[in-house]
């Protein structure tokens, strides 16, 4: 079980959090302008990489805030935690 350092509450057990999948996929501002393929790209396509992956996590049983996590999927090490709206770190 991970130990996740919520940027608002501090270190808590993973059981307090839910994962929200890949981070930095912005909802298109003008969905109606997109063709099916472009919309499908946003809707369905997600990366599944071995190595550093940028993810969204939510402190569901805590402050309910969303934030970003850079996690190494090969060993589950959390390299960096940063707030929503911040740019992903160079790792």
């Amino acid at each position: 079980m991970f130990l996740i350092n919520c940027p608002y509450c501090g270190e808590r057990d993973q059981s307090e959090f839910v994962s929200g999948g890949e981070a930095h996929i912005a909802r298109p501002k003008q969905p109606t302008e997109l063709n099916d393929d472009q919309w499908a790209e946003y809707l369905f396509m997600r990366k599944n990489i071995k190595g550093i992956q940028f993810e969204r996590w939510n402190h569901a049983h805590g402050c309910r805030k969303w934030f970003n996590v850079a996690r190494d999927t090969s060993n589950d090490k959390i390299e960096k935690i940063y707030k929503m709206g911040e740019q992903p770190p160079k790792l």
Binding site: D13, P31, T32, N58, K77, M84
Partner: protein, 1001 residues
């Protein structure tokens, strides 16, 4: 005890406390401090079970958790009996009852033993090759396999024991209370760290505590004496919490570990009453030190599995710790010096040692020289080529090894023995290290895998890391612990250690015999009866990966997880394929390290504590009025209220008739409620619902449908505009939490610019929903001053009124199609307002109805229930709810997906009504719908989602999803059931009051 097997030894076994126990129906005795295994051995019992495949007689082999054979059924109580308990791990208690498992009719005469003579027919992969074909025969095979498989008996009644869970936090967790763990604990404590020390045995000290030879010395004292002083010191150390009888089950990432403590298993059954049996610790440690030690490995030779063949270290422990001789005529077979300690223990206890067989050329260490000086016959460069004795070993045959070690030469010599102590070196217990994600490296010198890289804040010390000699163990443990904890000096820095040093090493994974391999049985995995032959067969058949070889031969797949077998399996694969062992990799060790009972895993979460349940403020009233409840998510909802022995069907018919003809009342408190405030609240609603919200006026309500971004219906509910920037949204009962987090997600991540605040108020308000033609009269009796005229208070509107001091939000909304009012009050007034309604409605026969009647009433009106009539694949268009999709809005969640190529297909499943040709026939929800029974394969067109008998319409009605359903109105279709086929006609989804006239009473 006909033979004199028990030696006076009062140190760890209390001979003043005699305990009786029953093994296979026979009453026997042992002492407090014995394990079941040592007590059996003291009664000269080695034969305890039969092997899994060949049903060969098997005896106690070890003294710990690696035991492959002595696996017993404990107890004979239907609720408390426990299978697969290792005799080496369970402490003897008075009245213990145990039985051998894998034998029928008895361990001494076992019918499955015939498999032993059939063994040429049972090679590796036999089960895979034979029983998988033809597939239809599997059921027959399974019956026989299950019957002859020795897996013990499960209890047939509920486990009456109590189990417990507890969280623990510490600076340093030390796993294993042997000498290295104890030293590490002391060093950490002296540095003022909070230490948690786990030991799976009842006493601290590991194997050094009963080490009685005169060669090992620490600070000029006998090593065991030195250790006892350290233990006393540690027991009084306030920084160190010690948990004995506690074994680590799992080591997860981020130093999260699970450990199981046995609290009552060592007590006699009568002393266990009302005590917690086992406790599971959930430990979060800043740093972890693994000092789990090592286990001795056997050697692999022909017939190496007879009762009486034991690990040399076990023979030593039974003598030195339990005071039990495992035999009166002993032979030792070894490839290393450590077995010579067993020789000294045998000598010291006056037990006959006939010979030592050593595969090495010679050894000149201090300990070997001492054994030599005792005049013990040592056969150097010899190996055992065979053993004899069916139920107990009585002879070994030995021959000289050639220089290469791959064949035997010279004359065969036979030696008598009733106990053969074997040692093939030591394997560090790296299971926990690898469980935690650590990577191993191969050490060619000792032929072991040792901890290499880890991502966690952890350290392995002692023999768990590959140090086997006392001076290495102590000095490296001190050095590594100091470095790990970043400590300059410790009280152990000047420690003086003396011990014997091994100079000659030799290892042969598969020892040769005078017979060809095909005629021999060199066992690797005793539990699964896999031999070296099976490994070679697997390699010949093309299996290369060690993981595949393992599964094909089942090596290492028993309850001992191959603690004894894995290294030899790897070694033989490496030798046969000319590969370096280090390049082969190892199989994966998975938690739990030793088996856990289900009781320990679930702890207190059983029965009524299995899950939390939520009750509405009116719950007690429902109970008092004979409601039956159904679970909706975590809520207990009133399902129906049977009167005078009514069935559910009868009750629902009565309740729904009353609601349609006069008045009914429903507890709607469980609906999700979200309070929405902020200057952008209106814009927010426009974005999350499919319909338009801009023109909604204060005091009005509107139904909304919420989609996922993929265009599929996600939730629905009515939202009321309470004020200029203030709304109250309702959601489905089951969807409340998900809707809340979905909306939060959009607000925080996609639209942070919106000024909107969400608060879950589901639990803050209670809701009584009064419906029916007389609803207005009832509400009027309660709120005398409230103008209920259609002009002042029309359908889909809201008023705030006071009842005494209670603020009431009254909404005129309907899920039944009847004139209907929902009264929302603060939760604490819920029961009061409910009873007020019941009282006011008495003269109108107000009838409480449950969820079942609610479902029927709304189905008559064709209103959907999200999650029942939808399943995450239905768009609003599929539901024939096109009217709720705003054409004007530029965007809302899911809008773009509504015209993807897939969502605009005309042959999607669509919501329709179904009427049975026989109006009394009620369809089963979930039943499939077809057109043609005869054309196979039958094409499934859809399924029934909701189905009821309507007392108002006096016929059966159903909702269903059907391919191209919109075009099929009037079509005759079929619903095949197991015993009949029901004829149906596709209809409109609205069955009752298509003109919506009842809504105005």
């Amino acid at each position: 005890m006909s033979k004199n097997l028990r030696i006076n030894n009062k140190q760890f076994v209390d001979e003043t406390r005699k305990l009786s126990f029953v093994f296979n129906g026979k009453k026997l005795y042992g002492y407090k401090g014995d394990t079941l295994a040592s007590a059996l051995l003291s009664n000269d019992i080695h034969l305890v079970g039969r092997s899994f495949k060949y049903h060969r007689p098997r005896g106690i082999m070890t003294s710990g958790s690696e035991e492959p054979n002595a696996i017993l059924q404990i107890g004979n109580d239907d609720a408390l009996t426990e299978p697969n308990v290792r005799a080496t791990e369970i402490e003897l208690y008075d009245g213990l009852i145990c039985n051998s498992q894998n034998c029928w009719p008895s361990v001494n005469f076992d019918i499955g033993g015939i498999n032993n003579f059939l063994s040429p027919l049972l090679p590796a992969g036999f089960y895979y090759k034979t029983f998988m074909w033809p597939a239809s025969f599997w059921e027959k095979y399974e019956y026989f396999i299950r019957k002859s498989a020795g897996l013990g008996k499960s209890p047939t009644k509920q486990d009456p024991d109590m189990y417990d869970h507890r969280y623990m936090h510490c600076d340093i967790l030390i796993v294993g209370g042997g000498v290295s763990g104890l030293i590490a604990a002391k060093i950490a404590s002296d540095d003022n760290k909070k230490v948690l020390l786990l030991e799976d045995k009842e006493l601290l000290g590991g194997s050094l505590i009963y080490d009685d030879n005169d060669i090992s010395k620490i600070d000029n004292q006998k090593s065991s004496e030195w250790l006892k002083k350290l233990i006393e010191n540690i027991k009084n150390d306030k920084n160190i919490i010690i948990k004995t009888r506690t074994s680590l089950a799992a080591y997860h990432n981020y130093n999260f570990l699970l450990a199981r403590q046995n609290l009552t298993d060592h007590l006699s059954v009568n002393d266990r009453n009302n005590k917690i049996r086992q406790r599971l610790y959930k430990i979060r440690a800043k740093k972890v030190i693994i000092s789990t030690g090592a286990i001795e490995r056997p050697q692999v030779f022909h017939n190496n599995d007879r009762p009486g063949i034991m690990l040399a270290s076990a023979v030593k422990k039974y003598i030195d710790y339990y005071g039990v001789r495992c035999g009166l005529e002993n032979v030792i077979f070894t490839n290393n010096d450590s077995a010579y300690e067993t020789a000294l223990s045998l000598h010291k206890s006056g037990t006959k040692l006939n010979a030592i067989v050593d595969i090495r050329e010679n050894s000149s260490s201090e300990i070997v020289n001492k054994v030599k000086s005792l005049g013990v016959q040592i056969y150097w460069k010899h190996t055992i080529v065979n053993t004899k004795g069916y139920k107990r070993i009585n002879k070994v045959a030995i021959m000289k090894l050639n220089d290469k070690g791959n064949d035997v030469i010279g004359k065969k010599i036979e030696l008598n023995c009733d106990c053969l102590a074997i040692s093939g070196g030591w394997t560090p217990m790296v299971h926990l290290f690898t469980q935690s994600g650590g990577k191993l490296k191969f050490d060619n010198k000792d032929n072991i895998f040792v901890p290499d890289k880890t991502n966690l804040n952890q350290l392995s010390i002692g023999s768990a890391k590959g140090d086997f000699e006392l001076d290495d163990v102590l000095k490296n443990s001190i050095k590594d612990t100091k470095k790990f904890l970043q400590i300059e000096n410790s009280n152990f820095d000047k420690i003086d250690v003396q011990c014997s040093k091994e100079k000659e090493k030799k290892n042969i994974w598969l020892l040769p015999s005078d017979k060809p391999l095909s005629k021999t049985k060199p066992f690797l995995d005793y539990q699964n009866d896999s031999t070296a032959k099976d490994i070679k067969l697997a390699l010949r058949e093309g299996f290369k990966s060690i993981e595949h070889v393992k599964r094909y031969t089942t090596t290492g797949m028993g309850t001992d997880q191959g603690k004894l077998a894995n290294m030899h399996a790897l070694g033989i694969v490496a030798d046969t394929t000319n590969t370096n062992m280090g390049d082969l990799g190892t199989t994966t060790f998975r938690p739990p390290y030793t088996p856990l009972t289900f009781g320990t895993i679930v702890g207190r979460n059983v029965g009524q504590f299995f899950d939390i349940f939520r009750k509405t403020p009116m719950h007690d009233w429902h109970v008092d009025n004979n409601a039956k409840f159904e679970n909706v998510g975590q809520w207990k909802r009133a399902w129906y209220y049977p009167k005078d022995g009514e069935t559910m069907h009868d009750a629902v018919q009565r309740e729904s008739k009353a609601a349609r003809e006069s008045s009914g009342i429903l507890d709607a408190s469980t609906l999700g409620k979200i309070d929405i405030q902020g200057t952008d609240a209106n814009e927010f609603l426009n974005r999350v619902y499919t319909n338009a919200w801009s023109k909604l006026q204060i005091g009005k309500c509107r139904y909304g449908l919420m989609l996922n971004e993929d265009g599929m219906v996600y939730d629905d509910g009515v939202t009321t505009k309470l004020g200029e920037n203030h709304y109250l949204m309702t959601t489905t009962t089951g969807g409340a939490a998900n809707v809340m987090s979905k909306l939060e997600d959009y607000l925080q991540t996609e639209w942070p610019e919106l000024d909107v605040f969400l608060t879950s108020v589901t639990d803050h308000y209670a809701t009584a929903s009064v419906c029916g033609p007389n609803a207005k009269k009832i509400i009027n009796k309660i709120f005398k001053d409230l103008d209920l005229s259609d002009e002042s208070f029309p359908h889909m509107s809201f008023k705030e009124v006071k009842l005494g001091n209670i603020n009431c939000r009254v909404m005129r909304i309907s899920f039944t199609g009847e004139l209907s009012y929902e009264i929302n009050v603060e939760a604490s007034y819920g029961k009061y307002i409910w009873e007020k309604c019941i009282e006011a409605g008495k003269e109108f026969n107000i009838t409480p109805y449950g969820t079942e009647t609610m479902h029927l009433l709304r189905a008559e009106k064709g209103f959907i229930i999200v999650g029942q009539d939808t399943d995450g694949t239905m768009t609003p268009v599929d539901l024939q709810m096109d009217w709720i999709i705003s054409k004007k809005k530029y965007d809302f969640i899911g809008k773009r997906s509504l015209y993807r190529s897939d969502t605009i297909r005309e042959d999607r499943k669509q919501l329709v009504g179904l009427l049975t040709d026989d109006p009394n026939e009620i369809l089963e929800e979930g039943a499939q719908i077809i057109k043609d029974e005869n054309k196979k394969p039958i094409n499934m067109l859809g399924h029934v989602t909701s189905s009821y008998f309507s007392p108002t319409l006096k016929k059966s009605i159903a909702l269903a999803v059907l391919k191209e359903g919109k075009k099929l109105k009037g079509q005759k279709l079929l619903v095949p059931m197991i015993d009949k086929t029901i004829k149906v006609t596709v209809s409109d989804t609205v069955f009752l009051d298509k003109e919506n006239e009842r809504i105005n009473g």
